[in-house]
């Protein structure tokens, strides 16, 4: 009876995961979907604690440890998730992904350390060993990779290009596979070998993410997310646990599709994102050697006049807006302009900010109405009839090099056609290059004027000036 109750609860949890994911794909049902999935998870965990019995019929013990761990995890997790700023969400997701992956790796190590006492088979050449090894390899790669991705988005780790990085990675991967096969050929479980495999996997994860930078980080996080899903499924196989199996595989396959969708939004292939990262430094250096060119500046007052007497203004938000927490004041500028009869729209590039949908979340927080947020395909034809395109802290997503310069690392990424607008005003803090680290031709365009300063401060002044006009 108890055994069946557990199986049925896993069935319910699996269905909850599926429905949850499905609902998460539509704006109206998304929040409900998240809650359904969370309830499924709760059921699976609670029933496991009280109903699970090992194959030998032993119930779970160590309740103090289990509940202690769960309480610590819940308190810390809730605090972290509640405290994090909206701008730092992407790295938070990466961090949570990393700890989940570490969890799988630890489980694999512990299970393997028991292997000799629970299994007395002649060889390790079997599916169980394979799943344990795979779980620890994928778990370790996903863990160290996610931590590096987190550090990069936090700005703590810079892009690092090792000489022959790609070659090193191939050698590492081959040694992981080689040691794995060697381990499976052993007569008894050798924990040290598994630890060596884990260590190499950790290094591989670090070197895998190190050179990837710029707008590609969301794709990497999504990819690592699906890795962890696969690792979780390995755990499900290990314990013959349906909830872990379906949950893990669902995330693995949907995460892969999501990764591909993100790549498509940038008009790049996944291989291009991963392999392309290794050729970046050359183009960077070539750009740095270019002659000094001058940009035109505009004062806040002039900018306010220009915008007040425009018919149509398109605001292009980017990461700079997010960092400055300027979404609310941006919405106020939009309302002030509208009161003056100016049509204001937002142009949302799919990867503006640090993650797809990042800008939508931020502007939704500031109560900007949905119909004003236009995606790239809808807004691009609008630029030619626009008087002022106001670019706030965006750079790579408006860089014409993506269209014109075959050598540019972002070549081929669809961009917002800001250059078609009659006037272009670019708010930036300084002339530093964007996240991808490349120069932007648009800044030197005859129609472009720069409005230097922190997005929040500048917009604040703009609102005051526009009101005065």
């Amino acid at each position: 009876m108890a055994q069946y109750s557990l199986e049925i609860s896993y069935l319910i949890a699996s269905i909850a995961f599926i429905i949850g994911l499905k609902f998460l794909g539509h704006p109206e049902t998304a929040r409900k979907g998240n809650i359904i999935a969370a309830i499924g998870m709760f059921i699976a965990v609670i029933t496991t604690i009280f109903l699970y019995k090992s194959p030998e019929g032993k119930p779970l013990g160590n309740y103090v440890w289990i509940f202690g761990g769960i309480i610590i995890g819940t308190v810390v997790g809730t605090l972290m998730a509640k405290k994090v700023q909206m701008t730092a969400m992407p790295q938070m997701v990466s961090l949570f992904n990393g700890v989940g992956a570490a969890c799988v790796a630890l489980i694999s190590v512990v299970e393997f350390s028991h292997y000799n006492t629970t299994h007395t088979g002649a060889s390790l050449f079997n599916g169980l060993t394979l799943t344990i090894i795979l779980g620890s390899i994928i778990g370790c790669i996903s863990f160290s990779g996610s931590i590096i991705a987190w550090g990069k988005l936090e700005g703590k780790i810079k892009d690092i290009y090792l000489p022959a990085n790609q070659l090193i990675n191939i050698v590492l991967m081959l040694s992981i596979i080689g040691t794995g096969v060697y381990l499976m050929m052993q007569p008894t479980a050798n924990l040290n070998l598994l630890l060596i495999i884990s260590a190499i996997s950790l290094i591989y994860g670090i070197l895998f993410v190190f050179p990837i930078g710029g707008a590609d980080m969301p794709v990497v996080i999504s990819l690592l997310n699906s890795f962890t899903g696969v690792a979780a499924a390995c755990g499900g196989f290990l314990y013959n646990n349906q909830a872990m199996l379906t949950g893990g595989i669902l995330v693995g396959s949907s995460g892969t599709i999501l990764t591909i969708l993100m790549c498509k939004a940038m008009n790049r292939s996944l291989t291009n994102v991963i392999i392309g990262a290794f050729s970046n430094p050359k183009t960077k250096k070539a750009d740095a050697g270019a002659e000094q060119r001058t940009v035109k500046e505009i004062s806040v007052t002039d900018c306010a006049v220009l915008m007040s007497y425009s018919k149509k203004v398109i605001i292009v938000p980017g990461y700079g807006l997010a960092v400055a927490q300027a979404q609310h004041i941006c919405h106020e500028l939009e309302k002030t302009l509208e009161e003056k009869g100016v049509e204001v729209l937002y142009a949302i590039h799919p990867v503006a900010g640090r993650m797809p949908g990042h800008m939508n979340v931020l502007l939704a927080e500031a109560d900007v109405p949905y119909p004003k947020l236009l995606e790239m395909d809808e807004i691009n034809p609008e630029f030619s009839t626009t008087d002022v395109a106001l670019v706030i802290g965006a750079n790579d997503v408006v860089n014409p090099a993506a269209k014109n310069d075959k050598d540019s690392p972002i070549y081929g990424m669809p961009i917002l056609d800001v250059e078609n607008a009659k006037n272009i005003i670019i708010n930036k803090r300084s002339m530093n290059a964007g996240y991808a680290g490349i120069d932007n031709e648009l800044f030197y365009d005859a129609k472009t004027k720069m409005l230097f300063g922190d997005a929040k401060g500048v917009l604040q002044k703009l609102v005051t000036e526009v009101k005065a006009n």
Binding site: G69, M89, G100, A232, V361
Partner: protein, 104 residues
């Protein structure tokens, strides 16, 4: 060869689940608007936190004198819970901003 065939044969149900879940995952996600990519990734991230179940089993079956399992299992439970709870709460916070504000 025989090992592989018998392995698949013995676990045929698992392979059915595997294949069907892969297709299901692909079906469920296709045609999602790009505004939902981030919350969706975050939600999926929370769901793979189901590894917490494995961590609980490791912890619960560990002998009281098996310190390696106790310590690693304990850390695994904490990390797994972090993944689940943090993941769902962060996703909820993101989605909270999408809810329609009452028109006043």
């Amino acid at each position: 060869m025989e090992t592989i065939v018998s392995f698949i044969g013995e676990n045929i149900k698992v392979f059915y689940i595997l294949i069907l879940s892969i297709f299901l995952g692909i079906e469920v996600i296709s045609k999602v608007p790009s505004i939902l990519h981030t919350p969706l990734m975050s939600g999926a991230n929370a769901i793979h936190g189901v590894v917490i179940v494995g961590a609980v089993i490791v912890m619960g079956l560990a002998d009281s004198n098996d310190y390696l399992s106790l310590v690693l299992g304990f850390i695994a439970v904490i990390l797994g819970t972090l993944n689940v709870v943090g993941g769902f709460v962060v996703t909820d916070r993101m989605l909270e901003m999408f809810k329609k504000k009452p028109k006043s």
